[in-house]
Structure formats: C-alpha cells, structure tokens
Amino acid sequence: MKDIDCTGKTSRAINQEIRHHIQAGETELRVQHPQARHNLGVAILQPVSLTMSGSVGYYCGGLIDGPRIEVQGSCGWGLAESMLNGVVIVNQNAGNSVAASIRGGTVVVRGSASSRAGIAMKGGTLIVQGNSGYMTGFMMQKGAIIVCGDTAEALGDSMYEGRIFVGGRIADLGNDAVMAEVTDQDQEFLATTLAQYDIAAPASFQKVVSGRRLWQFDKKDFDTWREAL
C-alpha cells in the first residue's frame, strides 16, 4: 500500500503522483487528506486499487477504465462519470449526478444519492444503499439502478431502456417511466449484486422501466409529448 498525502498539494500534483506510482508498478494506493478536492483519480486505466481516506469533490474517478476506487467519506457531483469499467464505492453520501453516463462497471453509494443519480447511464450498475434524489435515472439508456431506500420525484424520467429497482417508496414516476413485474431473473440479479457489496436486500423491490412511448413521435399521444418536449 503506497500512501499519498494531499496536504498542501493541488489536484494536478496529486493525480501526477498517483500516475507515477501506478507506472512504477504500485497496485494499491491510499490518498490521505483529500479534503474534498475535485478531479481526483480521473482517467485511471489500470486495474489498481485506490482508497480516498476522506471526502472528495467533483468528478472523482471520472473517465476511468478498470480501477477500484473507495471513497471513505462523501463525494461531490459526477462520481465515476463516463466510467467504462471498474468499481467505485463511496461510503457516505453522493452529490448530484453520481454515475452519470457510465458505460460499464459498478458504482456503490453506501449512504444516499442526490439528484439525477444514474443520469444517462449507458450500461453498468448503480447501487444506492440509502435514498436517491429527484430525477434518478433521467434519460437512462442501459444498465441497472438499485435503490434500497426511497426515491424522490420523477424517477426514470424519459428513460430509453434499462432497469430501476426500488426497495422503498417511489415519490412519483417521471415521463414515460412505468412499473414492471420483477422477474425471477431480476431477483437473482439483485441478490447476487447486493451480496457482492455486503448490502442487505430490502424485503422486496419494485421495478421501473421505460414505457417506450417516447421512442417515436406520435401525434395521437399529445399529452405525453406536451410533458416531454
């Protein structure tokens, strides 16, 4: 385990240090005193393990492909945005747009997630152990979102595809988001995925998918389009 102390350093210097150690062959790194700096651990493309010993700012683990990043605190906006593959875990709460536009990998929020969690997801899995905010899964394209707690308004608004599972209460559904039956295959996916991160599954889940009414313009469905456009 290689330690990097952020005290008195810029994000630039910290990231350079991280890359230097990875290039030197280190596979386990601990970033101490991150103090909510932005853009830590961006664009890491190697299967290394990175621990942030504290809270981080915006875009931690953004644009990564392969590493495992654990944030031992909370995070700002856009955790793991556009990730291709890897695992990013935040032990407390996540700011807006966690897992925005990820195309693969898994993001785990052990606390609650703020607005637009899983926005525009193109693959991968987002797990929120607590509650999630307004417009969770907005314009989601693929992948799965698992919220063990409650979700705020406009869940799954304008989603193209993908699956959203909610263990608690759904405040309301967004445009063209509809309830669907939880299949045996879904149950198996939920059990396996949550067990992987030692998360106790709620008693039951509700499932939300796309109603597919926004897939094509339809003049006969004006009420839907008035809301959506």
Binding site: N39, L63, G78
Partner: protein
C-alpha cells in the same frame, strides 16, 4: 372579353405560411428538417461588409507572388501541445449517424489533405476517422453518446460542447430512419428510436461547474491538448466571457446560420444570432477580459467561402469552422439522382431533407446503397480542393490589404455596406467615417 382577375397574395398568409399550417395540421407537432436557416428575411451577414484594399494610403503585396502565411495555432493558453494547422479553416463536428461512414471518412481525409483538422460529433469517435485524420478534435457533448476515455486520449484537442448555432439551448435529434443497428449500438440506444439528445450536460450546469469539468478533461489528457468550449450564438458577449474565465483555451461560437442534420425548423429560423453579430460580440468580450489573443476564437455558422472566412478573421476570429460548405463540396444538393430528391419532396439546390436519412448523394444517410453514391477518395479530393480554393481567396484578400499573414487582417480593412452591419460590427459605413453602433461590438471612432 372579361378582365383577368388580379391575384393578390397576403403578406401575412403567404403560400409558405399556409403550407406550414397545413403540414402541422397533419403532423400534430412542430416540423423537423435538416440543413440551415430558410428564412424569407435575409440575415445580416458578412456579405454586408466589403474589404477596402490598398491604394495609396496602404501598399499591397503582390497577389500571386509574395508570401502570405495561413498557418494557424490554437490552444496556446494552457495546453502543452497547441494545435498547429496550415490553414484557418477547420471541419466542424458532425456526427457519425447524422453523416454516413463515407462522408465522415471523406472529411477526415480531406482535412488531412488540406493540412487542417476534423471533429468527431454527437456519436463518439469513428476509428476510421481517427486513422485518416492528422488532427482530430474530440467533442464531449451533453449526450455523451459513445464517450470513451481511450478515444478522448487519442484526440489532438477536446471540444466541450455547450450548444450549436442551429439550435442553441436544445439538444440534437436523430430520427429513427438513421438510428441503424450500428448507430444504436455505438450510442447505447435501442435501434430505430427517435433519438433526442439532452441539452444540458449530465454532470454540470453553469460556468462554475464548467470550470471544474474543464479541469477534469485536462487531468484526463494530462494537460497536453487544448480544451475548446463551443456554444451556439445567443448571449455571446456574456457567454464568451464566462467560457474564457472558466479556463477555455479556445472558444467556438456558432452563429444561427449553422447547419444540422435534424432540428425543429422554428429553432433554425428563429433562435440565436447571426454569425456576423456573434464574431463582433465575441471579440469585444475577449478584449474586455484582457484575453483577446490569449484565448483563440473560432467562428462558425454559414461560412461558405474564403471571403466570408476572411471577413471573420478581420473581425477577430483566429479560424473558422466549415460544416455545410464541406458537405456541399462533397455533393450535397448537387443535381444528381434528381428523381430521388423529388421522391423525398426536395429538389437539387433546395434540399434540406437530411433528417429523412434518404440523402440522394449518400452524405446524410445510413442506407448502405445510398452511401455507395459517395466515393470517399473522390469526395475527399473535392473538399480538399474547396478548402484550397477558400484559402487562396483569403490570401488574395489579405495581400490586397497589404497583409503578409491572414491573421493580420483587421477591422480597419473593412467597411460596412449597410447601416445595420455598421452597427453590428462596429465598422464605418461606406462613404462615411461614421460607425453607427452602440452594442457590445461597437466602439466610438475615438477609441478604435
């Protein structure tokens, strides 16, 4: 013999207006089309300005002999590797999806041939586009379709796109006929949907957030390549200042004449400001920030010739983007396959049916048979030739104004042919020494 009745057309209920109402009565929604603005009323444009070449008060360069540099450098503010291109004309971002494979590769080859850059678009990077282009700009758009860190790191510059001139404030459209299985897979979408791109980025909203996003992109590319910020021309004076202060190396402003593969037509005709006004506001904005010359300015939107490009440079741009003009050089709107134009309700020279996916000349289509009509190498040669011709036009005008570098063109080399262009661009009206103005692009003659 009865008198022939006088046919009187209303100026309110013109044939186009009647046809528009009846089309919407059938569609039940706004109309969607491609191409560019089709307004009845002409927009103020670079055509409203004229160059005032050397006579006795200035000395020209020999038009066909003396050197006139066209070398253009972009991204000198923070990037370790600014872009160096041979000409001040670049290919703007147009997606693989909106355009065919053949069109994208032809543009990449043409750009390489002309010593300039091409840009990806709202669908990610095409491997062949990277392979055939020397300088490739990777767009990071609100949709993030096809976003891939490996592609990002192969780029020579990153363009963080906030909007486009054809439809500022809204997202892109790709209608079902163009969302083929391949395009759908690249964008992680269901095949055959009407794809509606978001207008906001998923993980940032305003300029304060954008500052952090720009830093993230720099970290992802190790501060090597320039970061552009592209916007549709709207409140340019304020928006350019915000982009510059957020840390952009290069600001791209796309005027309302900018083209698109598909857009609600009201947005094409009734939103944004003309490119002439955009460049004027952008220059003053950068000057007032003390960043003119430090942050480079690229102007786009209806740039159709070397003359328009030269006027944009004189008004303050470092380079221009061409999109529609490059497609026209590829054969867009050329009278070939006339029956196929008519089958989609168009005519050569008046086709704006890119949204249908039935492009008769194989440019804005995903149909393999139509695509074959565009020969990649022949198309690349035509676009390369057009860029060369436009470059010669810029040089010709620059030499006539006594400039040995096209970037030395300046507002003093221009005069306005109309009152409104004088007011917009802050250029004296011909026959007077008076600048009629008052907007952000205007300065009294005592301060010029």
């Amino acid at each position: 013999m009865s008198e022939r009745p006088v046919v009187r057309h209303s100026t309110t209920w013109k044939p186009e207006t009647i046809e528009d109402i009846q089309a919407k009565a059938d569609l039940g929604r706004y109309r969607i089309r491609g191409f560019s603005a089709l307004r009845d009323r002409p927009l103020p444009s670079f055509d409203d300005l004229t160059f005032v070449p050397c006579t006795l008060s200035r000395i020209p360069l020999e038009g066909y002999r003396e050197k006139c540099s066209t070398r253009t450098v972009l991204g000198t503010r923070f990037a370790k590797k600014p872009i160096e291109i041979d000409i001040p004309i670049m290919v703007t971002g147009m997606s693989y999806g909106a355009l065919s494979y053949n069109a994208k590769v032809a543009l990449a080859k043409a750009a390489a041939r002309a010593g300039t850059s091409t840009t990806t678009g709202d669908g990610g990077m095409l491997a062949a586009e990277r392979e055939h282009s020397d300088i490739l700009i990777y767009e990071v758009l609100p949709s993030r379709y096809g976003i891939n860190v490996h592609h990002l790191r192969q780029a020579n510059a990153i363009e963080l796109t906030v909007g486009q001139g054809a439809k500022p404030g809204t997202g892109g459209l790709l209608l079902e006929s163009k969302v083929s299985d391949e395009i759908a897979e690249l964008r992680d979408l269901p095949p055959g949907v009407d794809q509606r791109s978001p207008c906001r980025h998923p993980d940032w909203f305003g300029p304060d957030d954008m500052l952090t996003k720009i830093e993230e992109l720099r970290e992802a590319t190790d501060w090597q390549v320039p970061i552009f910020v592209k916007m549709g021309a709207s409140r340019v004076y304020d928006d350019v200042k915000l982009a510059a202060k957020a840390g952009a190396d290069v600001v791209v402003v796309d005027g309302m004449e900018g083209g698109t593969g598909a857009s609600p037509d009201i947005l094409l005709d009734h939103t944004g400001i003309p490119t002439l006004a955009a460049v004027s506001e952008a220059r003053v904005a950068l000057e007032e920030c003390g960043l003119y010359g430090t942050v480079q300015l690229i102007i786009a939107g209806g740039i159709h010739s070397g003359t328009a490009a030269a006027k944009a440079l004189a008004l303050g741009a470092d380079a221009v983007y061409m999109g529609t003009a490059a497609l026209i050089a590829l054969n867009c709107n050329k009278p070939l396959y006339v029956d196929d134009y008519q089958a989609i309700g168009a005519e050569p020279y008046a086709c704006h049916h890119c949204h249908t996916g039935r492009c008769p000349v194989g440019i804005t289509t995903q149909d393999p048979e139509l695509m074959k009509r565009l020969d990649i190498d022949a198309g690349a040669e035509r676009v390369g030739n057009f860029f060369n011709a436009a470059t010669l036009e810029i040089q010709m005008l620059a030499r006539s104004c006594g400039k040995s570098d096209v970037h030395a063109l300046e507002p003093e080399d221009l005069r306005a042919l109309t009152l409104e262009s004088s007011m917009i661009a802050g250029i004296p009206l011909v026959g007077t020494n008076v600048v009629f103005g008052g907007g952000p692009g205007w300065k009294p003659s005592s301060e010029r």
